[in-house]
Amino acid sequence: MSETDHIEEDLEDLYENAPCGYLSLRMDGRIAKANQTFCRWTGYTPEELLNKRLHDFLNIAGRIFYETHFAPLLRMQGFFNEVALDLLRKDGERFPVLVNAAERKDADGKPLFIRLTVFNATDRRRYERELLKARDELKEFAASLEERVAEATSAQLRSDAALATQREDAELREQFIAVLGHDLRNPLASISAGMRLLQKTKLDERGESFVLLMQKSVMRMAGLIDNVLDFARGRLGGGIMLTLSVQTLEPALQQVVDELQSTHPEQIIKTEFSFTKQVDADPVRIGQLLSNLLGNALTYGAPGEPVTVTAKTDKQFELAVCNKGNPIPEAAMKRLFFPFSRGEVRPSQQGLGLGLYIASEIAKAHGGTIDVTSTSELTCFTLRMPLLR
């Protein structure tokens, strides 16, 4: 050891001016001795501290915790370490400290007094407070996150329930429409069958004209029922259902023409069919579309003038129904394909105004369109749709 390494440590000075506070407490908790460092930190003189209780320099929370936690701990294990306390300085300020304590015992293990070492913990406590604050903020954040997740989950559940209700509603609607269709068509079929039987019996001219009128009405009624049901389905969610197949549409179209011709014997329906290619379509629906267009043409067209139905398959499938007569008024053109819209002609012939709407829906379902041109010469409704989907 060289001479420069040798330090003459003054134990008295070490006690008084150590970088920590020293306190000695009697077993009754009263201060017996305090070093200079402790006095400097707290602002009291050694005389002021003497015989005071440690409690007197603690805030109320510290006092209670000292009594309920640290004092018992000291008695139970003979020491405590790193206890966080706030000392009250003479100037009223708080001085955060960490305290270690140990009982000094005699040879028999009987405690004589208590030694306390007090460390300045101002910065550490500030840091701890920040940590606690951060933890609380994190807790808050976690809680709000949980809340948001719970909200989202319940919203999801609600929308799932709504979706399920919607599905149930759709099923109910389908059932309702099917039952309604069945109930409406059945009596109509009976009337139709009855009339066919009636036609086979010998009728006078008046009788035959009545049967014809009635057949016309039945057909019109059947068409209306189809339109109403399709409207209900389309409007209420089901949409127009297609049963697609690839074929020439000629027989389906011819059948519609024949039916309407038979109920409108006084009128001439000319057909120009040129089917060179097959079409991917629902023949029943295309027939329904034609029935609606042709029915209109026969109703609104000039009496005595022929109605022409042309169908061809070039690049696309084209079906046109043309009639002569008054042109469709400009104002009516805009609303032509809206449901419940009607031309302002002959009020006695008014239907529900669903025919063109359903026809355009059928066209749409096939990926096609219906165009209308109306001049004083000729009014034409033309369906154009792709041959294959």
Binding site: E67, A71, N81, A84
Partner: protein, 244 residues
């Protein structure tokens, strides 16, 4: 003889007192929910929002063990818990020993409890906003003392270690409790052990209790502080022996 610890530590508070009675009594020790080795899952904030919830636990323990005419020894707030339990199960306890009890900690007109209302608020605030994570942080510190092998792991793990949230609530319930009206209803003999210089239960409180309880005996101990069961067990044992 059933011993109940108060707010702060656990049944180890009785380690120097309880053994002295094992010759004459069957000694029952337990930890309140939230303290020591108790099952924290059993904590129900609603049940333990009053001292009555803790008293119900005490009765449950007594019934489980078939206690009849037992001596109840309660430290600090547990003195009041025992008092409430004696109402719930009149046959269970024949006498009460209260160590450092207080029926009301907050001063009121004509009553000295030792604390101002705002001081208790400060304590609760201190508990909720401050560095009271120490209660869990404490355990590893205690365990880290390899130079004290006599401290078994079980011991170092348990005493004075409380769940911070439960401790906070227990403090709120304890320091806001008011059982002054119950004191007069106690008919069984009661021993009040009053410490000198107890910041938590001042001498005036012990005297008040003695006045309010007709069948009580007040003994003022030389022991100072709030835990004579630790700091002066001999004195406590003597006073208790004399009473039972």
């Amino acid at each position: 003889m059933m011993f109940a610890h108060g707010f702060g530590c656990d049944q180890n508070m009785w380690r120097h007192v309880a053994p002295a009675f094992e010759d004459r009594f069957r000694v029952v020790l337990f930890d309140h929910v939230g303290a020591g080795g108790s099952d924290l899952k059993a904590y129900d904030p609603k049940k333990y929002s009053t001292l009555s919830g803790y008293a119900a636990d005490l009765v449950e323990i007594g019934e489980e063990l078939g206690l009849k005419d037992a001596v109840f020894v309660g430290h600090s707030v547990s003195a009041m818990i025992g008092l409430l339990a004696s109402f719930k199960a009149p046959e269970m306890f024949k006498s009460l020993v209260m160590v450092g009890p207080s029926p009301r900690y907050i001063d009121e007109e004509g009553y000295v409890g030792g604390f101002k209302e705002e001081q208790i608020s400060e304590l609760l605030e201190f508990l909720s906003e401050n560095h009271m994570g120490w209660s869990t942080a404490m355990a590893p510190v205690i365990m880290g003392n390899a130079d004290r092998p006599e401290l078994g792991e079980e011991l170092t793990n348990s005493f004075c270690r409380t769940d911070p949230d439960i401790a906070k609530e227990f403090a709120r319930v304890t320091f806001n409790s008011d059982n002054r009206a119950d004191l007069g209803k106690v008919n069984i003999p009661t021993l009040i052990l009053q410490c000198s210089e107890d910041v938590i239960a001042p001498t005036a409180v012990g005297e008040y209790m003695h006045q309010q309880m007709p069948n009580s005996k007040l003994v003022v101990l030389n022991a100072t502080g709030h835990c004579p069961n630790l700091s002066a067990p001999e004195e406590v044992i003597l006073a208790m022996r004399d009473f039972v």
